[in-house]
């Protein structure tokens, strides 16, 4: 099944909830082909993509998050081994209070992916079974991949910077 067909199936099934699609474009190899969906519908769409035999996206490769300054984008990259197909579902979230339903019940691997995004971007995943920081210590201040992140000068009395010995030259 081609990218266009998948998007067409999604539009047919979910109507308005499905937004614009980033078509695969040889001129923009860095663009992840995917389709935007409304944030509140993400579990339904994922469930459909996972369960429907014609789609059978049984593997969640990763969830990535990006801070675009006006909003936070998440991309759920999923793979179908049966149909040899990769697709990304993209979601725009409000930057001030980013929150979305977890997809942990669909793919258990989302547990750590979502913890990572919570840690680095501060997105809250409703219904997540264990939403703790993953990479940073539990009592870290701030979310490092936010564009306006300000690093604290020290952590547990350990300075977070080191003087450059070459700086004086």
């Amino acid at each position: 099944m081609h990218f266009d067909e998948i998007v067409a199936r999604l539009r047919e099934r979910f109507g308005d909830l499905v937004g614009e699609a980033d078509e695969p474009d040889p001129a923009r190899p860095s663009l992840l082909p995917g389709v935007f969906v409304r944030a509140d519908s993400v579990t339904d769409v994922c469930r459909f993509l996972h369960d429907e035999p014609a789609m059978a996206f049984e593997h969640l490769s990763c969830i990535t998050g990006t801070d675009f300054k006006d909003s936070i984008h998440l991309a759920y990259v999923m793979t179908s081994y049966v149909h040899r197909q990769v697709i990304a579902l993209k979601v725009k979230l409000d930057r001030d209070d980013p929150s979305i339903r977890t997809v942990e019940e669909i793919w258990a691997t989302a547990n750590w992916n979502e913890r990572e995004i919570y840690d680095l971007l501060g997105v809250y995943f409703e219904g997540h079974s264990d939403l703790r920081r993953l990479l940073m210590p539990d009592d870290w201040v701030g979310h490092p991949l936010r564009k306006d992140y300000q690093e604290q000068p020290d952590y547990h009395e350990i300075p977070t910077t080191r003087e450059n010995p070459l700086g004086k030259y």
Binding site: L135, P137, D138, H156, I158
Partner: protein, 191 residues
């Protein structure tokens, strides 16, 4: 028969007694103690990243740390030397300090590789500790990314020189101040 031991740092040490008489090894107490110390450096396995691979290789048959009397221990309580081989994140930093505090004196630390020495290529990273000397006292820095097994081998020999050259009581009398309050996450808290 008196033989001066062939080392510039040794002032008085020697072997007396001929064949059939038994033999006496004599020398300064600090020298003899340090001599035994430097030949039984048990090191704590502390491989947190790519440098760890080189450390394993150094323990392997080609460079063979065993010939210095160095064997790796999986427990800090049996170790004399902490070989920090790899990137230390802030999450790990508290654990490093905890492991260091569990080691018995005299104890030594080698910061292996750029990451452990100063943060290395993660200098601007949000999650990496910029040098392990910010949390524990470091005796020897080993540059490289990663240092080759030969380099680590050389560092071990330098470490032995350091041990031999110091007063045998120095490490025991030195006070290491415990850092206050280790934070949440199951880490021990100190008063």
């Amino acid at each position: 028969m008196v033989e001066e031991m062939n080392s510039p740092r040794v002032i008085e040490a020697g072997l007396e007694g001929g064949p059939g008489q038994g033999a006496v090894l004599w020398g300064k107490a600090s020298y003899l103690l340090n001599l035994s110390r430097k030949h039984s450096l048990w090191y704590l396995l502390f491989a947190t990243a790519c440098c760890g691979i080189e450390m394993m290789q150094t323990g392997g048959p080609r460079t063979d740390l065993d010939r210095f009397g160095m064997v790796f221990r999986a427990s800090p309580r049996q170790s004399d030397l902490m070989l920090v081989a790899g990137t230390i994140t802030y999450k790990m930093a508290d654990r490093v300090k905890l492991l260091y505090d569990q080691m018995a004196e005299p104890k030594y630390v080698i910061a292996m590789g750029s990451c452990a020495s100063c943060g290395g290529l993660f200098q601007k990273s949000y999650s990496v500790l910029k040098g392990v000397d910010l949390i524990v006292p470091v005796d020897l820095y080993l540059p490289g990314c990663p240092p080759r097994p030969e380099a680590l081998n050389d560092a071990m020999m330098k470490m032995q020189d350091i041990i031999l050259s110091e007063d045998w009581r120095r490490k025991m009398t030195e006070k290491t101040e415990p850092r206050p309050q280790m934070g949440r996450g199951g880490i021990l808290k100190r008063a």
